[in-house]
């Protein structure tokens, strides 16, 4: 349907109401990439099959990600009159059983994770839906979260503009276009204190103001969805789960600075995100919410998707712009900043997915509301991907200022398999490793920077006692060395040299002088590189040298890897008393280094063994030992 007036928007909302809150049961399966990797596709099919078999009438929907990835596949079941319950770790067989229970009029206990108190009709608002079942906002994983950017993720069908409208979608666009001047919008964003969520942390309103004043009639909006930091998937999730919120934010931004065209530059590795944002743009265009004279105003705006091609450096704004222009994705020195001199030399606002996803909420609820969340100077919320050696992995949105400890121990539930957490890596290859004894620090731009890391775009990779910090530093240097575009010498040659020294260290061939040289080169690369990639590339080395010097010294002086990771410095043996001779390691050893007869203790040929630790990982008896 065409949305030309505010009353059309009301109709859209009414239509969505019946989809989001149908009279019959609604089963939503989380089908973002993480859910699919956990098997959500088969679960979805099993629900359809089971419902068809029983001729059970239900609304089956593929939603995005609700954040608790650890528990995927997650299914959200809404039964009018009974309640709404999240089911975790669903299997196709479980789906069949669940449908049979629903068909007989009850919500089962099996796999129930939490109940969801909701605003829709026909659902008991309080009380226990199932005996002993917590509500979602009292689960430790969710209790301290505050969802603004992820407010719709996992709750709506990301392909449905109607469901987006029910959740307040396009209310802000209407407000902006029909009741606020472009300057009012910029002022609102400025007063909210929103800062760039891609990691730069530059005040968004200030940037918009500069662009708005810049000379030139033709201006451009860009959404940076080239989320390259390894260990981070916030932007992918937002695009896959709630693409309309990004479109609405960009459209409001276009109105504010006077741009009529926008681009979403998405990473090549995110095919599903590309498909969903494409679909949302297409639907918006068909509805008239993108295009000419939006909602009867005289403002016109269109958006195109551009697919990246695997170059990390294109996440840097000037490189991204060069990539759109068709040249090499290489950065150029700033200033001039894109707000003044961007795409084709014209004023351009480039913001991260999460920044755009925050805009509509701020316009709707007001700058004061947003500024009241978080702490002074770091207002609002940010999304983090909590991953690595942690009990609860997932996407987490918190008010800024929450401590690392509340994040890792509270929300994350501490180390994986009860192991001691050693550090958290934030900010990707530009960031650093923060040791556990600094977990009292608040999560904000300045505190993490002071600790030698950065907040970055939101990757938080947790490391435990089995993680070797020298190996981690080398991992990141390998990354930046490969991703360095090669334009400037300090980054191109410096990262290569640091990588060489780190390799000597993990192979037990380094001297104490190497450590001094490593530190010196790091300072030069930091100071002399052209763009953010090179300037921050030494951070993983400098932060681990600062906090985990013992790890380095053990490798250099004692030729020992305390975590038991570095291959040149460890040996693997099988304890004959514990080995049952099951033959699993013999079968899985990639280099056939395991010897032994069935049901008799096995042994490892040290000459053939590459210390890959496959046997150590898979031995059901724990009979393989690492000699460090």
């Amino acid at each position: 349907m065409k949305i030309k007036t505010p009353s059309d928007l009301e109709k859209l909302r009414d239509h969505g109401q019946s989809m989001l809150f149908p009279q019959g049961p609604r089963v939503s399966v989380g089908m973002a990439t993480c859910g699919l990797a956990a098997g959500a596709g088969a679960v979805f099919d099993a629900f359809r099959q089971a419902a068809d078999n029983l001729r059970f009438d239900l609304t089956l929907v593929a939603t995005g990600c609700i954040g608790y990835c650890q528990e995927e596949p997650i299914v959200d079941v809404r039964m009018p009159g009974l309640g709404r319950v999240l089911y975790a770790r669903m299997t196709p067989e479980g789906a069949g059983r669940l449908i049979r229970s629903l068909a007989s009029g009850e919500l089962p206990h099996e796999n129930a994770l939490a109940s969801v108190p909701e605003e829709g009709p026909d659902i008991p608002k309080s009380a226990e839906v199932l005996s002993g079942l917590l509500t979602i906002n009292t689960l430790p994983f969710y209790a301290k979260q505050h969802k603004i950017i992820l407010r719709n993720s996992g709750l709506i069908d990301p392909r449905s503009i109607e469901e987006y409208a029910v959740r307040g979608g396009y209310h802000s666009l209407r407000l902006a276009l029909l009741h606020l001047s472009p300057q009012d919008v910029i002022d609102e964003i400025t007063r909210s204190g929103l800062r760039g969520r891609g990691g730069g942390g530059f005040p968004t309103g200030e940037k918009w103001q500069v662009c708005s004043h810049a000379a030139g009639a033709e201006k451009t909006i860009i959404c940076n969805a080239d989320e390259g930091d390894p260990g981070a998937y916030m932007d992918r999730t937002v695009l896959e789960s709630d693409p309309y919120t990004v479109i609405e934010g960009m459209t409001i931004g276009g109105y504010a600075i006077g741009a009529s065209h926008g681009y979403v530059y998405v990473r090549n590795e995110y095919p599903l995100a590309i498909e969903r944002i494409h679909h949302a743009i297409e639907t918006s265009r068909e509805s008239g919410l993108l295009g000419e004279d939006i909602l009867g105003s005289d403002f016109s705006f269109s958006i195109e998707v551009i697919r990246g091609a695997g170059a990390f450096v294109c996440g840097e704004e000037t490189a991204l712009i060069a990539s759109i222009e068709g040249g090499l994705g290489e950065p150029r020195p700033r200033p001039p900043y894109p707000a003044v001199n961007g795409l084709w030399g014209k004023p351009t606002i480039i913001n991260n997915v999460k920044t755009w996803a925050s805009v509509a909420a701020i316009v709707e609820k007001g700058a004061e509301w947003y500024a009241g969340i978080g702490i002074e100077g770091n207002t609002g919320t940010a999304v983090f991907s909590l991953v690595g050696k942690i009990a609860n992995t997932g996407l987490v949105e918190i008010p800024l200022g929450l401590s690392l400890d509340e994040m890792i121990q509270g929300i994350g539930g501490g180390g994986l398999d009860g192991k001691r957490v050693k550090a958290v890596q934030t900010g990707g290859p530009s960031g650093g490793c923060i040791p556990a004894d600094l977990f009292h620090l608040p999560i904000d731009y300045e505190s993490l920077k002071q600790a030698g890391s950065i907040m970055g775009s939101g990757g938080m990779v947790v490391m435990d006692e089995d993680t070797c910090m020298v190996d981690v530093a080398r991992y990141f240097l390998n990354f930046t060395m490969e991703e360095s575009c090669g334009k400037c010498t300090p980054c191109r040659e410096g990262t290569r040299y640091m990588y060489t020294i780190l390799t000597r260290i993990i192979e037990g061939e380094a001297t104490p002088e190497d450590l001094a040289l490593l530190e010196e080169i790091a300072m030069w690369v930091k100071g002399a590189s052209l763009c953010g990639l090179g300037q921050t590339a030494p951070n993983p080395v400098l932060s681990t040298l600062r906090y985990f010097r013992d790890d380095y010294d053990a490798h250099v002086s004692e030729k020992r890897c305390p975590a038991g990771v570095c291959r040149a410095l460890i040996r693997l043996i099988i304890e004959p008393e514990q080995c049952t001779g099951c033959g699993l390691c013999l079968r899985e050893c990639p280099v056939d280094a395991v010897r032994g007869e069935k049901k008799a203790p096995h042994s490892i040929d040290a000459d053939l063994c590459t210390r890959c630790r496959t046997c150590y990982d898979i031995c059901p008896e724990g009979a393989v030992e690492i000699v460090r």
């Binding site: 993480c34 551009i306 068709g326 795409l343 991907s385 699993l584």
Partner: protein, 159 residues
Amino acid sequence: MPLIAQPVHPGAGAVLARLHAIHSEQGYLPETDLRAAADELAVPLSQLYSAAAFYPAFSFQPRGRHTIQVCLGTACYIRDSDRLLEKIETSLGVKQGETTEDGMFTIETVHCLGACSMSPVIRVDEDTYGRLRVDRVTRILKKYRPGEPGEKGPEEQGI
């Protein structure tokens, strides 16, 4: 009018879009298609070639029928995805960046597939497999060999 010829701009994103289109159709970037695209976009072949060479997503060599991407993102790496890579390399007898002799598989590494909560992760064509252990790799690869029963794709099973 400037006296010196000015560079011609292709449309925004046009170069990337064209390279992606050729790549998805042909599986790589053949020279003839690159030449035709340069003419059509009115950009020098050198510019198109250097862009194609700059981006890791593009290949100048034909690739295998199936592409295996092993994720080496941070979360996958510290959960030992390098061992998955080793296992895949030894079981197929080729290294990353190479294609098996029968043309069935190309092994690639990627810096992050963005499924970090499911680490370690690999992707075969469009299927993403999460929470992997070395001993599942062989069964997964079997699925992509015609006539061999193997582990089903994640879309067909609950893990």
